[in-house]
Amino acid sequence: MKAILRRELKSYFSSPIGYVCIAVLLALFGLLYLNVMYSGSSSYIYMVYSSMFTFCMMVIPILTMKSMSDEQRNKTDQALLTAPISVTSIVLGKFFAAFIVYAIAMTGSLLPCVAISLFGSPSWGEVFGYYLGSLFYGAAMIAIGVFISSLTVSQVIAAIATFAVSIFILMMGQISSLASGTFIAQVVDWLAFDSRYSYFTQGIFNISSAVFFLSVVAIFVFLTARRLESKRWS
């Protein structure tokens, strides 16, 4: 797993993708923080993260689009699948590489907050809540993105499909309100990512939400591994 993780990370930064994703996110964060500073109150920091959330969901498909699809297209998966390692460790290597790039951008977003704290007193509980929530939510989306990438040999299709799925997941809360009160609404609500995420935004570290997101990661890592296995039988 370590070898694959190292290779993937290197490839994110040997091509512009890693830099561009991080730079775009940090630039947008910077811009939104600038607004907070103009408004003169650190209590508006929540606005930064709630608007950045959508942008982050747009960047994740870019990070995951080539993780499996490129391997299949260049036939380099032959090297991975004939090496004495388990399929799961291949997928985990891919997942963590994308996650680390994402986490670098998210961690970078804390810097303006540090600057603000020199002159004011931002609510760190809230900020960390957003930060952790974004990491958990992002991890789940990355796992889904890696899975989608394993379904196709085209990076573009992987990116668009992942983007579509992430929009669908964002809208799950609204979907459940269409059928409010029914059993379906309950199920959708339970599955909806944003209700789980909202605990973090209130500065609450909700264990069940954390477990929920980690479970989504585990399920999709498992599904990706099964997908790679199933290709052998086709």
Binding site: K2, S11, S14, A79, A83
Partner: protein, 326 residues
């Protein structure tokens, strides 16, 4: 070392491999021949654990590729048809990555350098793989197969894209490796297989159509014993005299090849050596015999006959006879 039993692979309704069985002993070089789409790569992909068979088993060094994949895979160095190279890595990064991936325990620097010298890629060691020529890419592919010094090497068309000098070098390398490795090599270049392999398996349409030692395979199948002769004498008279000989089945004139010299092909009966009779005939008639050569089937002919399907039955029965003789 490698045991393949009743291997069958279906892609949907398409039968890619049909009940193929063979085994390779330790330290042997096996040639895998077949036209495009015959199932060579599929078979190799199954042996290395990249694909799974629909039916049948593969064991490498006693380990079943499905039941103990990691143990079996550790024994195999695999060069697929398209070398699995990352274009955004340098040769150095790539070999180090593959070294980690394969969990090699030999001393890293020393081992990688040794392989680079062996396949002659030390001069491009720090270059990006994407910028290398096809020949170099192929050699980097061979280098990654050699990492960890696995006892089994499976090479899918290893000399594709190389220039003649490199081809000779790589063939020599494979031959050298064959002394202490078990090698399966696929190719559609027959002289290559002939030069390198001790044993050949020919598959066509997913079926195993021939399996035998390289030299015997060509010999056993060339039972026609057609002779080509050149005689300094009048064409028609020679033709008549030849046709009149006992045991001669067929005589053809190929026309005048030099001034006053005609070429004929003579096919004798099966298992009859006609050469002495020919000599005696020409000596009697006073026609100088200038050349006589045997037309043993080349491996090309064998291959074409086996894979064209027309003479299939005839040849397999001959093959069996040959096998019994052995």
């Amino acid at each position: 070392m490698i045991e393949v039993k009743n291997l069958t692979k279906r892609y949907g309704t398409n039968l890619a491999l049909d009940n193929v069985s063979f085994s390779v002993e330790e330290g042997k070089i096996l040639g895998f021949l077949g036209p495009n789409g015959a199932g060579k790569s599929t078979a190799m992909n199954i042996i290395t654990g990249y694909l799974s068979s629909t039916e049948g088993t593969v064991t490498v060094g006693g380990y079943d590729i499905l039941e103990n994949p990691n143990e079996a895979k550790k024994l195999i160095g695999y060069l697929p048809e398209i070398p699995p190279l990352y274009m955004d890595m340098t040769v150095k990064e790539y070999l180090n990555f593959m070294y980690d991936l394969k969990k090699v325990t030999l001393p890293r620097e020393q081992h990688i350098q040794e392989i680079c010298r062996l396949v002659k890629i030390h001069n491009v060691y720090k270059r990006l793989i994407g910028n290398l020529s096809k020949g170099y890419k192929q050699r980097v592919g061979i280098a990654q197969a050699l990492l960890g010094n696995p006892p089994v090497l499976i090479l899918d068309e290893p000399t594709v894209g190389l220039d003649p000098k490199q081809i000779i070098e790589i063939r020599k390398l494979i031959k050298d490796l064959g002394r202490n490795h078990t090698v399966i090599l696929s190719s559609h270049i027959l002289p290559e297989v002939q030069a390198v392999c001790e044993r050949i398996i020919i598959i066509n349409n997913g079926k195993l159509v021939a399996d035998g030692a390289t030299d015997r395979l060509a010999h056993d199948l060339s039972a026609e014993h057609r002779l080509i002769i050149r005689v300094d004498g009048p064409e028609n008279e020679v033709l008549h005299a030849l046709t009149a000989l006992d045991h001669v089945k067929e005589v053809l004139s190929h026309g005048e090849k030099e001034k006053g010299v005609y070429e004929f092909s003579v096919e004798a009966e099966l298992d009859y050596d006609i050469r002495r009779d020919l000599f005696a005939l020409f000596a009697r008639k006073g026609w100088p015999l200038l050349a006589m050569r045997n037309t043993d089937l080349t491996l090309e002919d064998v291959f074409l006959q086996l894979t064209s399907g027309a003479d299939h039955a005839k040849i397999s029965s001959k093959m069996k006879k040959g096998a019994e003789k052995e």
